[in-house]
Assembly symmetry: D2
Homo-oligomer: 131 residues x 4
């Protein structure tokens, strides 16, 4: 499975009084990385929402925090697709700083329409993901 | 002009590596206080959006940071209406901690419909605000 | 194991363009609930950090998103202690809205000193947690 | 006064249920842009904090919201230094999307030491800023 690498610089806003990145913000990094993996596969998630009315709602998230990150750190998020089913899919993420694994995690998503009803992943999207 | 007081406890998430509340989060406190002032005046902002399709888009914000806030602080946001015009209105805020002024600011809002076009403030809302 | 219930009102800031609470913010709700559970057990986490120099760094987080939340929703976070070991502990969370389970999750924490070295949980804290 | 341009792609996390970027997040964009302007002038703000123990605490912020931003927008933050005094300085910001002004604002900062006492801006920093 090909891996996509997204570079992010940690913002001051993302740190907390412990001096490190607040734990919820890793999920924001995952979101940025997921958008970029999809784009690299030919899928604009913004268009999926705005044109197709298709949403990837998050059903589950998991993060293992291995080594803390702080302000102005340059991090790389390595992202791969996990499973792709009829109406759901998952992503796996590993965050590196200076070549060292700092965190890893995954998210599971359900494909829904504007009314938040589960629907099949559009064929066009499926084709891109399976390429 | 009557003043509404909203109590908020500072969350860990809202602090940054300087050990104090990150400056953008004061605007979140203002938002919470504004929702509660409106509710106290008989206006559910959620209903305004969901039922009337009316939005109060922010046109301007200003904050003066006087004394820092940190995790687990109990703060009070004192909120008053500023001006109320045909299609816009403003709010004034003062944040106190232990009786001491910690910040003050204001926001200006434009009343729009779902297409983000300026519209008159609904009469029902205007009546509540002028009561 | 006694359960602590924390009430939270969803803020506008916590929603995203899907119209629901952004998935990372559930971890913020967990943080608020965890602080309140500790306080109910006689432990001020702020004092732990400021007086004892003891930090509960997050080592793992997991969230299952069951039913979406939105602006102005009143939610209850039901929190229990999971395991308590020498230098680590865990919490379990269930979020309810109108009596219906909306999400559940857990966090694992490692007890560290100011230099982020693992240390034993202070006896005073352990006593409170085991009470 | 030279202007620094920072490119940012809007994250999903930064939007709200109105479908646009939540108003507090413009201050986060300003922070990112300010860090990059300082870096372009030869000042690492992270080093200022970590090595010199010097902090630029925010004393005031102002934002004028002109045209909304949304998910996946590519924006440019044009940043210039405002005034530079003994113990304070200011920045001016303009945010553009597709060549069109979307917001503008400013921040004022006080230079402090680790105890949050106002101190003179370090000579090395002053020299960089006045270059």
């Amino acid at each position: 499975m090909p891996e996509h690498i997204t570079s992010i610089k940690v913002r001051y806003a993302e740190t907390d009084r412990m001096g490190v990145v607040y734990y919820a913000n890793y999920l924001v990094y995952f979101e940025v990385a997921r958008t970029e993996l999809l784009r690299a596969l030919g899928v604009s998630y913004r268009d999926m929402e705005e044109t197709d009315g298709i949403y990837l709602m998050v059903a589950e998230s998991n993060v293992k925090y291995i080594s803390p990150l702080t302000y102005d750190d340059d991090i790389s998020v390595h992202t791969t697709l996990g499973f792709v089913k009829n109406a759901s899919l998952s992503f796996n993420y590993r965050i590196y700083r200076e070549g060292k694994l700092a965190a890893e995690g995954m998210t599971v998503h359900v494909c829904t329409n504007r009314s938040r009803r589960p629907v099949r992943l559009p064929d066009r999207v499926r084709t891109c993901l399976e390429s």
